[in-house]
Assembly symmetry: C2
DNA sequence: TTATTTTTGTACCAATTGGTACAAAATATA
DNA sequence: TATATTTTGTACCAATTGGTACAAAAATAA
């Protein structure tokens, strides 16, 4: 067995708790104190295991993407690609309806927040951004192949537009958009992604 | 004449300097020290004239909207409504091309940043949000009347979509979107707002 | 049991935050 | 000139920030 005093927590579990906390609060507004409380570990354990606030945040973004990718591949066995795209849009909407809050995308939020302030995080976000974009291109292409989205528009353009709408909607809701405007956006989505 | 020692600055001027600073930095990330430096006044003058960081920020949002509205009415004498809409979209794009930075909309940024953290600012943003939306509805209706946008889609839906794209684009650029994706969004705009 | 290794708890730290207190300076009125 | 009024400059403040130091605790290996 491993020598020395054993860890009293599982790294993966407390990492995902940190991820949820960062997702709620963003980067700067996530205080170390709150983070430790959310993770259920003490400061010394935190710094020994995760090195710094920035380092664990970067790991949280990575974990966020891993979990998201896994979710898509899982859903693809039972849902159409277009339904998955629609589900992304409806996520912010049901969040606000059920919990009264919107979180948006952890990584894209970090992109906006850390822009011009934390270059390391920003460039990591930029890498992830490309991954997101490619994932959406794949989904659009699949939906086009399945006949649910017209093949007249390019998959790249539709993926870009979709990401823009997705992130724009979350921001709009945070800024105070009500049911009527949310409905407008849904209509816009159906119009853009018609067969 | 007014009794007592005279002010060494003009309130309106330093207010607009504060507005620019907040526009660059956001709310939390705008430090009092930086704000004072940008405004060119001392702490005591600041607190006597503007009361608090939050109060001056609220005044900055108000000023931002006043200046924006004035800009639109000015442009409407020489430009078509559709060109003004297009100019909004191109603003973020030329910002990134010329200065290498994107600021987005001061008020909408505040909406995202202050969401669930500063209820007073959030509810003020919500008020302004409605004003923005109505302004865009007016512009769309005008463009429809001028024959530059199809009358088949509702003005409200187009205004909502436009705001979403506008704010989504700024966020996308901050998160690392490159020229190709920006081009995709421009294409999407022209497609959505065709005659 | 003793020595070694690792984790955990607590106390501490310098820097920064927005905001206040108060005296000094600059003006108008009497 | 003396007094009232307002602005400005400086010193200060408590609270919070992310991060470090170090001893106590808990395990294995000898």
């Amino acid at each position: 067995m491993k020598i020395g005093r054993p860890k009293e927590f599982e790294e993966e579990i407390v990492l995902e708790r940190a991820m949820e906390y960062f997702w709620d609060k963003g980067y700067d507004n996530a205080s170390l104190a709150g983070l430790l409380k959310a993770m259920g570990i003490k400061k010394s354990s935190f710094y020994q295991t995760f090195e710094s606030k920035q380092k664990i945040f970067e790991r949280c973004m990575q974990r966020y993407i891993e979990l998201g990718s896994k979710e898509i591949t899982d859903k693809l066995t039972t849902q159409s690609a277009k339904d998955i795209l629609r589900a992304y849009l409806n996520r912010s909407i049901s969040e606000i309806q059920e919990y009264g809050e919107v979180r948006g995308c952890l990584v894209m939020n970090a992109g906006a927040e850390c822009y011009k302030k934390y270059p390391d995080i920003s460039s990591l976000v930029k890498e992830h951004f490309i991954f997101f974009h490619n994932s959406f291109i794949d989904l659009v292409k699949k939906a086009q192949k399945e006949g649910d989205i017209s093949k007249e528009k390019s998959a790249s353009m539709l993926a870009s537009s979709f990401m823009t709408i997705l992130n724009g909607l979350a921001l709009m809701i945070k800024a105070g958009a009500g049911e009527d405007i949310i409905h407008d956006i849904q209509e816009h989505f159906e119009e853009l992604f018609k067969a």
